[in-house]
Each structure stands twice: as structure tokens, then as C-alpha cells.
């Protein structure tokens, strides 16, 4: 923690950056912090409550953050994938951001929980993590941490995959019936950077704005399609959803399917092209007549 604070202090006082995007203790739990003065760098913390993927603040849609100037950003391994994604897709330039990586030993489900990692509290996605130590970094801080405990949650993706198709339909119909189309899933997503989302376009209106099961299904399927091979699996959409819809399940399923089909896993290497937008002439086509 001290290492992180000292580094932020140095970057800010040297003028290397004008804002450090990290985490701080808020009135209730941990929350994102924009540290703009060296004197405030002591506020920065890192512990298992640092759930938020801060890369979303580098997203060019955040026009109100441009005035803060050149950023340094603190990233976990999963967050670094999002920074890499933004670089890969030409949304930011590598040289325009200082990346401070932290070694991560897993996070809890919600930033308002206690920081202790147990089978109950650990975020289920941490069990699938392949990036405890981010590679796309300018600075790497913190000690190497032990593997997090294994989550006690059932693997809902696998369970759904095994269900008969009608049961899956019923499951999603019920889940999506709660969607109110606030688009929090999109707004918080570091990889949703379109200046005008297809869901906000009205000419033509491909996706209806009403919170009906029909429109909700169209919206979520479209979002997932746009996320295929791009989603970093940070789980922020699921956390942000005020209707508590398990959106991450669809994304995790698609990530698995992309990996199986195209041998591609989202990483923090910005030079690897994304699988949708690229192709191989001998891609499998068993489903095509």
C-alpha cells in the first residue's frame, strides 16, 4: 500500500501525470478515487475490496475526465486487459497513460463487504483468473499474493448449458423480465466506448427502448455480440445491474465459446487482434449447410 502511495506521490509531484485513478476508502466500502494532488496520494489503497475496473474511466466517453489531464491508472490483472483492449481498439494511446499494476490475490463480490476472502465472499470470477499479475504495466507494485479460496457458488454457466433449451428460455425470460433498460451494464463497461450506442440510435430503431422482455432480450443479445472476444470478464456489468440480472453468465459462456472455436483468450497484450474482425480461412463451419 505504501509502495503504491509513494509511487503515486512521485508521479504527481514530478508532473509525470496529473491524476492517479485508484481506489480509496469511501464512507461505505471502497470506491474509485481520482487523486489529483500528491498530498492526497495517501488516500490510495489496494485490498480485496478493490473490485471496480477503473479502466472504464479511460474510456473516451468520459468527457468530464479529460479536464483532469494525463492519467495514471491502477490496475489489477483483469483491469489491465481492458486497458489493453482500449489500446488495441485505438481508443487510447499507450503513451497517454501510465499503468500501475498491482498483484492481485482475488477480490470480494462487492466493495462494501469486509476484505476477508472466503469461499463465500470471493468473487466467482476470480476462480477463472489467468492474470494475477498484470503484464501491460509501467510499474508493478505489491507483494505476490496467494491464490484466492475457491468460490462456493455453483457454475451457473455449465448448469445452464446442460439445461434443455426450453428451460434456458424460461430462465432468461424470468431474469430479463426484471431489466429496466437503464443501460447501467453498458455505462460501466470499459469496453463499451461507442460515442452513440446502437441502442440509442433511432434511425432506424433497431433496439426498442422499452423495458419489455422482447426489447430486453434484443438488447442483451446485441450487447453480448458486441462483447464477443472483447469482454475482459471483469464482471462490472453484473455488479452494476440494479435488477441483479446475472449478465456475466452470458458473457462467460461466449468467452468460452470464443476460446474453443478460435483459440483466443482475452489478454492484456494489446497487439493481439481480436477474434471478431479477424478470421481464418479454415475456421470451423460445422453449423453451415
Amino acid at each position: 500500500m505504501k509502495e503504491l502511495q509513494d509511487l503515486a506521490h512521485k508521479l504527481l509531484s514530478d508532473g509525470a501525470v496529473t491524476v492517479v485513478m485508484g481506489w480509496e476508502q469511501g464512507p461505505r466500502g471502497v470506491r474509485p478515487a481520482m487523486i489529483t494532488t500528491a498530498a492526497n496520494s495517501h488516500r490510495l489503497i489496494f485490498d480485496p475490496r478493490c473490485v471496480h475496473n477503473l479502466a472504464t474511466y479511460l474510456n473516451p466517453r468520459r468527457s468530464h475526465l479529460k479536464s483532469l489531464g494525463k492519467p495514471a491508472i491502477v490496475v489489477k490483472g483483469c483491469d489491465a486487459k481492458a486497458v489493453a483492449g482500449l489500446i488495441r481498439e485505438s481508443q487510447i494511446k499507450r503513451e497517454d497513460v501510465v499503468i500501475i499494476g498491482v498483484r492481485c490475490g482475488g477480490v470480494v463480490r462487492k466493495p462494501t463487504q469486509a476484505p476477508e476472502l472466503t469461499t463465500d465472499t470471493v468473487s466467482p470470477r476470480c476462480g477463472r483468473c489467468d492474470a494475477r499479475e498484470p503484464k501491460l504495466v509501467d510499474h508493478l507494485v505489491g507483494p505476490a499474493l496467494p491464490e484466492p479460496p475457491k468460490t462456493c457458488s455453483v457454475d451457473m454457466v455449465a448448469r445452464l448449458e446442460q439445461m434443455p433449451v426450453q428451460e434456458r428460455w424460461a430462465f432468461w425470460r424470468e431474469e430479463l423480465s426484471r431489466c429496466i433498460r437503464c443501460h447501467a451494464c453498458r455505462e460501466i463497461c470499459p469496453m463499451c466506448f461507442c460515442s452513440t450506442c446502437v441502442a440509442d440510435k433511432s434511425r432506424p430503431q433497431w433496439i426498442e427502448t422499452s423495458a419489455t422482455p422482447r426489447a430486453n432480450l434484443a438488447w442483451q443479445m446485441t450487447r453480448v455480440m458486441h462483447m464477443a472476444g472483447r469482454c475482459v470478464g471483469c464482471g462490472e456489468c453484473t455488479r452494476a445491474c440494479p435488477a441483479e440480472i446475472p449478465l456475466g453468465l452470458i458473457l462467460a459462456h461466449v468467452a468460452q465459446s470464443v476460446e474453443q472455436r478460435f483459440s483466443y483468450r482475452v489478454s492484456d497484450d494489446p497487439t493481439l487482434p481480436a477474434p471478431v474482425g479477424a478470421f481464418k480461412t479454415d475456421d470451423a463451419q460445422e453449423f453451415i449447410l
Binding site: T212, N216, R261, Q285, F287, I288, L289
Partner: protein, 157 residues
């Protein structure tokens, strides 16, 4: 799902590329091949232009089945549109299936300009398959349900 209904005539929307499948379908017609009259063809420049949203919209507006068809690999008029489409629809098919849509309602095919016979087969097979699946009332019913309204107790399972 509903029971197969003999009198049910499925509505099927086909999104096809201009250069191969559309011409192939044309050939099927001019060759007077007999095929099911259930398919409405929408012509697009290339399978690469076919957005999954088109398929979603077709279901929203009452289609019971969808065909997406274009040039064989290596034959794309725009060099690589069909390769891109292949990846996209491989994923979309997985998404549909994961969300609970029977993938029997959607057919992907490569039909070249000379394959009038293959187009007839694709049309007939798809029509028969969708006929067996019945009308897609599950999807159509979504439009009339109002979401986010209490619809009955969601009890712990």
C-alpha cells in the same frame, strides 16, 4: 414449445447475399424447381452486411425461422465478407442457443449462383424443420408482456 401443427405454415425470412445466394435462388426460380413458398427473401450486398440484429428483428416481427445464406468460402465478391460472417454467426448461434432459442429455427448455408438445387433443399429443409418446431409464439409473446411489473411471486427455488 407447441405441438407440431399440420396446418401451420411457417413464416421464414431469408437474408441472402446479392452475388451468390440471391442469384442461386433466382436460378431455382427460373429453373421452375418446386419449393416451399414460406420463405421471404431479403437481399443484401454480402453476408458480411448481415447484422445479428436483422435476425432478432425478424423474430420480433413474427418470423418463425430465419435463413442466412451467402457465397461459399473463397468466393466472396468482397474477398472476405463471408469469412467475417462465419465467425460472427458461429458466435450468434451460440448466443441464441444459450438464451434458449432452438437453433433449429435458424439455418446458415453457402449457396452459390449455380446451386439452384441446393437453395431448394435449404428452403425445403428449413421449412420442414420449423414446421415441426411450430410457430415461434414464445418470442412473439414477449412483445405483449410488460416487463418489470410484478408478475407473480418469485419464490425461492
Amino acid at each position: 414449445m407447441t405441438e407440431p401443427n399440420e396446418s401451420f405454415e411457417p413464416k421464414i425470412v431469408a437474408f441472402v447475399c446479392n452475388w451468390c445466394t440471391y442469384t442461386g435462388a433466382d436460378l431455382a426460380g427460373t429453373s421452375r424447381l418446386q419449393m416451399a413458398p414460406n420463405v421471404r427473401v431479403v437481399r443484401l450486398p454480402c453476408t458480411g452486411r448481415i447484422d445479428p440484429l436483422f435476425v432478432i428483428k425478424a423474430f420480433e416481427r413474427g418470423a418463425d425461422g430465419v435463413i442466412v445464406s451467402g457465397c461459399h468460402p473463397a468466393d466472396c465478391h468482397y474477398t472476405a465478407g463471408n469469412y467475417h460472417a462465419r465467425r460472427r454467426f458461429a458466435i450468434f448461434r451460440d448466443v441464441l442457443s444459450f438464451m434458449g432459442v432452438d437453433t433449429g429455427r435458424i439455418t446458415f448455408s453457402w449457396v452459390s449462383a449455380s446451386e439452384g438445387g441446393k437453395w431448394r433443399d435449404v428452403v425445403n429443409e428449413t421449412t420442414e424443420r420449423v414446421r415441426q418446431l411450430g410457430p415461434f409464439i414464445d418470442y412473439q409473446a414477449l412483445s405483449f408482456a410488460s416487463a418489470a411489473m410484478p408478475k407473480g411471486a418469485e419464490l425461492p427455488s
